[in-house]
Symmetry: C2
Subunit: 321 residues, 2 copies
């Protein structure tokens, strides 16, 4: 849960004089998102989300994120549309933080998405990849493969709290992933954090994709691998091939994967698992005990990583070349 910055009624009223959003009917901090403070703002005109960017989001990256959302929303994709102030600007300041107002998207997220939802996600992800083409700004992936060794080095031998010999095992698996990493696959703007809590549904219809604050330029198939990891493993850690096949087929119905992309799936999925394992490991070691947000267990992603390094071919994902 997260509302790091408090906005009182007087500050809100003063802030909203710069906008044409109508009369405020309700305003409540919501317990979603871990990086920024989010408020649900309802006026007599519409529902909005007011996001205050906290220090973990680099203000210099905000124009990129805003552009991605504008391009996607204007292309018809269900993602938040930035709402400009009267002077046309998107980024404002409130309570000492950069902030912006966005359209509100209906829907609820699903902790364990079913096969139909996995297919919806696959179609939407491919559409996002294609529709982001007009984005002009660039943002390298700060958490891409080049970042993993430095990130791992920064925790020293801290990984050994997870089990004897873990530091050595992680290094071996990381070396293997980096040695196999594909460098010349189709790339463009990716979401890079499309976990189920960032995708909204009403029944099985996808109604919203949110939280673009890890978006960057990287391999399209890597974005898909992040989704395979976060959508297709069951609560007991088992991999659901039916869901994986549904997601991959739906993706390909919009943007067919090349043979090189398909062949790279096990490595990309292992790399995605390594990325989330390492950031969780970092947070596990560095989160103060009194933090508002509890760190997630890195070992969930260690098991996923081992799965991908044990498969004998892409048939394990329900796809062939």
């Amino acid at each position: 849960m997260a509302v790091y910055t408090t906005v009182d009624d007087a500050a809100l009223a003063e802030f909203l004089t710069a906008y044409d959003v109508g009369t405020v009917l309700s305003f409540a901090g919501i317990a979603e998102g871990v990086e920024n403070s989010n408020y649900l703002l309802r006026t007599d005109q519409a529902h909005y989300i007011l996001t205050l960017y906290e220090k973990r989001t680099d203000a210099a990256d905000l124009p990129f994120f805003i552009e991605v959302m504008e391009v996607l929303a204007n292309s018809g994709l269900n993602c938040p549309l930035p709402v400009p102030a009267r002077d046309g600007s998107i980024l404002q300041e409130l309570a000492g933080r950069p902030c912006a107002i966005f359209s509100f998207l209906d829907g609820t997220w699903s902790r364990f998405p079913n096969r139909e939802k996995c297919a919806e996600l696959g179609r939407t992800l491919a559409t996002m990849h294609l529709n982001c083409a007009p984005v002009t700004r660039r943002r390298p992936n700060a958490l891409g493969p080049d970042a993993w060794q430095p990130l791992f080095d920064s925790v020293g031998d801290g990984a050994d709290v997870l089990g004897t010999g873990m530091t050595r095992q992680i290094q071996e698996r990381l070396d293997s992933i980096l040695a196999d990493w594909p460098r010349d696959l189709p790339s463009g703007v990716i979401h890079a954090d499309l976990f189920p809590n960032n995708v909204l549904f009403i029944n099985d219809k996808l109604t919203g994709v949110i939280d673009f604050y890890f978006a960057c330029d990287d391999l399209f198939a890597y974005d898909l691998a992040i989704c395979l990891n976060s959508w297709c493993f069951e609560p007991d850690g088992s991999f659901n091939l039916t869901k994986s096949r549904a997601m991959l087929r739906a993706y390909q119905s919009v943007r067919p994967l090349s043979d090189a992309e398909i062949s790279a799936i096990p490595t990309l999925a292992a790399g995605s698992a390594m990325r989330f394992f390492l950031t969780r490991l970092y947070d596990w070691i560095n989160t103060p005990d009194d933090a508002l947000v509890s760190p997630k267990d890195p070992m969930e992603y260690w098991a996923i990583l081992r799965f991908h390094q044990s498969v004998s071919g892409t048939a394990a994902y329900g796809i062939g070349i």
Copy 2:
């Protein structure tokens, strides 16, 4: 902020099969309230609040709170109306917690309410006192004057963390309040926690009174004293007589105060300050460092207490006999 219990989409869908509230459009934990978990539930029919009662709320008290809200909402007062399940029951269970659904009230709360809002509050408070007459259940005030000495005893000499000699000073002021405490003033159901964050406005019009989880049977004028303390002191600690007068006059336009009630205001207001000072002191000493909710500074209420024990008559509140 507070969302102690997580409700996922599958649990929510299963839970809502017992209700006729329509199709869920959005569902978000909100960072309001410190005792319970609150979710904003929007369906194609209406907005609702889903409250899960956490362990600080005694389940045995819930029927009383629910009855108060039902009686008030049905009398036309802007307070949450409990929404029954198809079988007619209000209290249900979700994620192992007692819970209930309520109508959602528009409006935002005001950190420093102006004179017009203080008058609105006065009128509404008097209306609440009159309209609660049909409530049949009873609930003694667990934090009334009889509770203050035991509460103070439970912190031992812990108050000395606030300053040398504080334990002695508190005891002297508590003795003085209890010696003067009026026992035979008009009484009935009171809200007992009507701070500005529990009252919603659109512009200066009062649109909602919420959070009835301290409601109990006690002196009506004590409820008014709680409001004088929480609405009429400025950020710098000064007492705003104009706001106090507006609140008292508006209250009396609906339910005139007796001479005995007016005379008792300084003692009732000092007692109210003592009650919030003592509970904040208790939380200050007993809240673990890693708690989700930071304890409030008790010294704010010590200054308010000293103000009331220094006034020379009810004219200080803008009211005479």
